[in-house]
Amino acid sequence: MELDPLILSRIQFAFVVSFHAIFPVFTIGLASYIAVLEGLAFKTENPAWIKLSAFWTKVFAVVFGMGVVSGIVMSFQFGTNWSNFAQATANYLGPILSYEVVTAFFLEAAFLGVLLFGRDKVPAGLHLFAAIMVATGTFISSFWILSANSWMQTPAGFELREGVFHVTSWSEAIFNPSFPYRFLHMALASFLTGGFVVAGVSAWYLLLGREVEANRKALSMCLWLLLFIAPAQLVVGDFHGLNTLEHQPTKVAAMEGNWETSRNVPLLLFAIPDQENQRNLYEIGIPSLASMILTHEWDGEVPGLKDVPVEEQPPVAIVFWSFRVMVALGMLMIAFAVAGLFLRAGGRFARNTWFLQGLRFMSIAPFFAVLSGWFVTEVGRAPWLVYGIMSQAESVTPSLTGGMALFTLIGYIVVYAMVFSAGVYYLMRVLYVGLEDRHDEEDHEAERPARPLSAAHVPFEYGEEKRSTPANQGGH
């Protein structure tokens, strides 16, 4: 059997990026949350804020550590698997990725140590400043990365000379047409992820009756945040969709499962796209609603997949279904945020067992929503890597063989599986130990250890807590 290096490289990049993406999307949101907690602690001196901040900083340390480790691989994959692409786009992507390293890495390197280890060693104001700087660093990082990604989706500010991109306007290239929408959509997704994880974990602690006062405060805060940003994400997503309609109509056609360019297009709730025969099976839809959403007119014209040749259509089913998963999860998030508002009377949001159990489940929902959102945008631009200009097939490394690509694909899966299981296992340990364990450990730390996880103070194996918590009383 002939192994196809192109397909294997696409799977490999999708795997590495998906695996990596779940960490930053969480740390970006969490960093801002920690900065807010630090601000509240600084202003009110209520010990609950410090307790919460100290706990979530531990979680941040673990997730940040995993994100860094899994991220190293990506910057090398452009060269190993997509060398033609790297060669053609280096004039733009090289400086952008380098700026990400020097601006974001620098801020994080300088202030992460202070945030993780400096609480009792630097003035409170400086510690707060460090928390704000770490949060800023995560946004600067995503600014550059999303600029690079958006440029590949909606390239601008360049001219082609002999197959190589030359930048003619840095501002047009960096702030390319889809960048503002993508950046805002991603920023809100990060807040939603951070918010639902904190809400879910707080709900779990409330169900167990652990540190009720602090966790109640945390949950209340999260619910206020989610009440505003979950619906806001719907609005931003709508604008992002309109922008995509303007620049990448074929992607929108795949999201809607729409084959013919037509008016009064229904919003499909269910369908099985049959790409071979260029049609849908078992369609269930709401008449004219897709036209209304996309053009804000009931009889607005919606582009169809058949506008482009079959070989320029993305894999429709993946885009179609990923989009529905993302939207459905978004709606669920809004429902929980609104339910939280109704449960506020008498503080029922912190007592209602059904609601709390639901929030526990919802803590993983944003990750699935983010991943399916990325599937929509990345699979949806297929077969292009630089939209309309450079295809995936042109981009792949010419010397790459299927065997090599398969070898490294399996290799990365094995490596990541081992790292990921250790990391998730350890994260579970940190969550299990909880907020209670802050002051009963000897502080061995030197002035500024550079390893994020040394901030977590939790042993790797079960059954070694220094003090029993309500969850494991009598263990020692």
């Binding site: 550590g65 480790v69 899994s70 190293i72 691989v73 910057s75 090398f76 060269g79 190993t80 060398s83 033609n84 790297a86 060669q87 280096a90 004039n91 992507l93 090289g94 400086p95 990725l97 380098s98 990400e100 390293v101 020097v102 601006t103 890495f105 620098f106 390197a109 300088a110 190589v164 030359h166 930048v167 840095w170 490394t397 010419p398 010397s399 063989t401 090599m404 070898f407 490294t408 290799g411 990365y412 490596v415 790292v419 250790a422 990391g423 350890y426 061995h444 730390e445 030197a446 002035e447 500024r448 250890p449 550079a450 390893r451 994020p452 040394s454 977590a456 042993p459 790797f460 194996e461």
Partner: protein, 333 residues
């Protein structure tokens, strides 16, 4: 209008970044290579503590080098990486296991031996891969129209295996002299004991590589034996550094062996650079041919001029904070 020879400036920046990376990550990789041979578990704790605060920053130079290479010399990036495809994977896998081991070893009790192996194995594989990269660079690449056209395992030759082993020995030497400087007592005595055998290994392997290199490449042969006789200063300086390591270990100096080992690396590195200059993708492309567009090099340079000094100050400060001897039981548990 092109006022400056930007590719030349960038060659110095990238060249500086590479030697910074080699010297700094070199000693902490070396500590990992020596890890399994340490006298006891307590010594391993101390060894890891001696590099724990700085290794992460050291590795940042590699990421910076990768991104900087893509920005300034994309052709180097897009020929080296496909040519070394399997080697790059081994390097990254090694660095990942090593990075995770740093985090988890101090948290683990019963599973600690697993993280010991991850740390030592990851360091060894990554170091060997880096040595093979150097060997491949000397060997040259099969290219057509600026694209690598050779096979997946062309890089794996007896010569690159030798340079891989040379890098292992060299990094181990950096590691052992670092430990002499940073530790005391039994661990320091052990580090003194292994340094001279490691030095002997480095001299033997480097010697074979030096004799072999002119046969691997015509350009190097021509340059060594004809026009640029001044480069003979560099091997002489290298030998002087080696002698200085020997003498300072014999006389039980603590800092000098590490400094002299860094000197050994710098002179060897300069020797490699002048042998190949100005070819960055041998045998076909010079640094000017491999460069990215002028405006791209300029755009990034303007930013780096502000950031690099800050990074250097910050790096120096980190080393200053963690100066002095590392003792067992101190630090990161």
């Amino acid at each position: 209008m092109e006022l400056f020879d930007l590719p030349l400036i960038w060659a110095f920046i990238i060249g500086f970044g590479i030697i910074m990376y080699v010297l700094m990550d070199g000693f902490d990789l070396g500590v990992g290579i020596l890890f399994p041979f340490a006298p006891n578990e307590e010594a391993r704790d101390t060894m890891m503590n001696s590099v724990a605060p700085v290794w992460d920053g050291n590795e940042t130079w590699l990421v910076l080098g990768g991104a900087g290479l893509l920005a300034a010399f994309p052709m180097v990036y897009t020929i080296f990486l496909p040519a070394l495809y399997i080697g790059v994977f081994l390097l990254l896998a090694g660095l990942i296991f090593r990075g995770v081991a740093f985090e988890f070893r101090f948290k683990a009790r019963t599973s600690r031996y697993l993280w010991n192996w991850a740390f030592a194995g990851g360091s060894t594989v990554a170091s060997f891969a880096q040595g093979a990269v150097v060997g491949t660079y000397i060997q040259g690449f099969e290219t057509a129209n600026g694209v690598y056209v050779g096979g997946a395992l062309d890089w794996l030759t007896p010569f690159t295996v030798l340079t891989g082993l040379g890098m292992l020995a060299g990094y181990a030497l950096l590691g052992s002299t670092w430990l002499i400087m940073k530790t005391e007592g039994r661990l320091q005595a052990w580090a003194y004991k292994i340094t001279l055998p490691l030095l002997a290994a480095v001299i033997i392997v480097f010697g074979i590589i030096s004799v072999w290199t002119p046969f691997v490449d015509d350009l190097v042969r021509e340059r060594w034996f004809s026009n640029l006789s001044v480069i003979w200063i560099l091997p002489v300086l290298t030998l002087l550094c080696a002698f200085q390591i020997y003498r300072s270990v014999r006389d039980r100096y603590e800092g000098m062996p590490f400094v002299a080992t860094m000197g050994l690396f710098i002179t060897t590195y300069l020797g490699l650079v002048v042998s190949r200059w100005p070819y960055v993708v041998p045998p076909d492309y010079t640094l000017w041919e491999a460069a990215s567009a002028y405006e791209s090099q300029l755009f990034l340079l303007l930013g780096l001029l502000f950031v690099i000094p800050i990074v250097l100050v910050y790096t120096a400060w980190t080393y200053w904070v963690f100066r002095g001897k590392v003792r067992a039981g101190e630090g990161y548990h």
